[in-house]
Structures are given as structure tokens and as C-alpha cells.
Symmetry: C2
Subunit: 114 residues, 2 copies
DNA sequence: TTTGATACCTAAAAATCTTAGGTATATTGC
DNA sequence: GCAATATACCTAAGATTTTTAGGTATCAAA
């Protein structure tokens, strides 16, 4: 697996995007989904995921519903209105980031009209 | 400009790639090149750039040649053999990272053969 | 001669992540 | 029945990286 160093700064983007997509998810579900969807190449650590969810909540971008499943608790997260806006904005920024990285890594070569 | 949060973890990748591409560059040149190439959308901060270069040097991935230009000094950085290897490896990791992000952000939809 | 560009640097603080735990319930295999 | 694994949450210490906010000095242009 690639070094997770590259992931820094994208965790929130991933969470916001997934919640926009799925409606609501709980923490453990997010980590499992990412693991499956990436064929095991990306595994979010809980020590990063949970604090990130708590911060998003504190910032008013996500809201929580606790649900009892058997004797175990789940905390379902979903986007607030502000969160939906943030999600769109994040995605747009990520795409711009990709474009910029393309420009830097595959530079415009002047006069390369061959 | 997009929030530089997304850039976290990619600064070293950018530096290593540019040095592989250009042969040698000095710090200020790197920052200006990135700014120009990205149409001003990405500006590396010096507080991140210089310490990053120093660390790469300490790790033996880049080497330095000091050059006098007038009365001003420039420090040209270029890749060591280990640095060339690291550069290729970094780029490969970055591309895998992009693939994984695609998978997560644009999920495989089962049976979407419409 | 003052402003902006060039060219380097550092230190404190903020942000984010890893590591390394902890608790507890549920399920599966032996 | 019991141990191991999976589910499901959490936190704190430390590491790393980046931002912020400075500092020094030369050179060119207004």
C-alpha cells in the first residue's frame, strides 16, 4: 500500500463525499467501505477517523443519530445543510488540486505541437 | 486558490519530481516555477519549502551546490542516486493514490451497465 | 531612496496523523 | 464452553508537516 502521507488533508474530503453519496453512515462503516472500495489499498486508521468525525460535528457540517443495535451503539453521521455545501466545495477543490498537480507533474511544454 | 490542506504530504513529491525533470533547481526557483505552472493557483510557502529541502538533504535524497550570483548566494539542489529512486517511487505512489481516490469518490456501481 | 523582487533562513504555533492503547458486544470455529 | 475475530466506539502521547510570522541581505526599477 502507498504511504498514507499522501492522504493527509483528504480525509475530510472523503468523509464529506461519502456522506453526500450514501446519506448516512457510521464510523466503522466508513472505514470498512473505504477498505473494500480500494481493494484493501487504503485503510483509514480509527485514531484519525473518529477525531475527524467529531470535529466535523463540532463545526456543524455533520449531525449524529445514535442507534441501538442489539446492545451495541452506532452513531450514524449525515450532512447538515452547511455540510452539503462544504461537500460540494471540497470536491471542487479536490478536482482543482488534481488539475494543478497535473500541470506541475506533467508540465506544459512550449512548442510541443509535433 | 484551493485550500492548501490538500497539498499536505505532496510537497516532497513535487520537489523530487521537479528535480528529476529539471536536473537542478534552487529553492526560490522551485516556488516560482510552481506558481507560474499552476497559473498562480498554488503557492508554496517558504516556511514549508526550505525545511523540506533541508530534510531531503539530511536524508541523502538531494545534494547541494552553492553558487555565487553577484553577491547573492544560490543553493542548487539535485537528486542523488537514492533521490532518483525515491522520486520514481513517490510518483508511482502518487498515481496509485489518485486511482484509489477515484475508486472511493466515483464508486464502482454494480450492474450499472445501462 | 523607497519599493518590490530575489534569495536565503528560523521558530512558535496549529493542524493532522500514527501509534498504541482502552472498553464492550457479537459471532464464529474448535 | 471458550478463544479468537469482528464489530463499534473512544482517547492520549508523540511525530510530522504546515502555517504564520517573522528575520537578513542584495539588486533593480520607479
Amino acid at each position: 500500500m502507498f504511504s498514507r502521507e499522501l492522504l493527509k488533508g483528504t480525509l475530510r474530503t472523503i468523509i464529506l463525499k461519502l456522506l453526500a453519496e450514501k446519506g448516512r453512515m457510521y464510523g466503522y462503516e466508513i472505514s470498512q467501505y473505504v477498505k473494500t472500495q480500494s481493494d484493501g489499498r487504503l485503510q483509514l486508521t480509527e485514531g484519525a477517523l473518529y477525531p475527524s468525525l467529531h470535529k466535523l460535528e463540532k463545526e456543524g457540517l455533520v449531525k449524529v443519530e445514535r442507534e441501538q443495535v442489539g446492545k451495541r451503539m452506532r452513531k450514524y453521521y449525515s450532512l447538515t445543510v452547511a455540510g452539503e455545501k462544504a461537500s460540494r466545495s471540497r470536491l471542487a477543490e479536490f478536482e482543482e488540486f488534481l488539475q494543478v498537480m497535473q500541470l506541475i507533474i506533467q508540465p506544459k511544454t512550449q512548442g510541443d505541437g509535433s
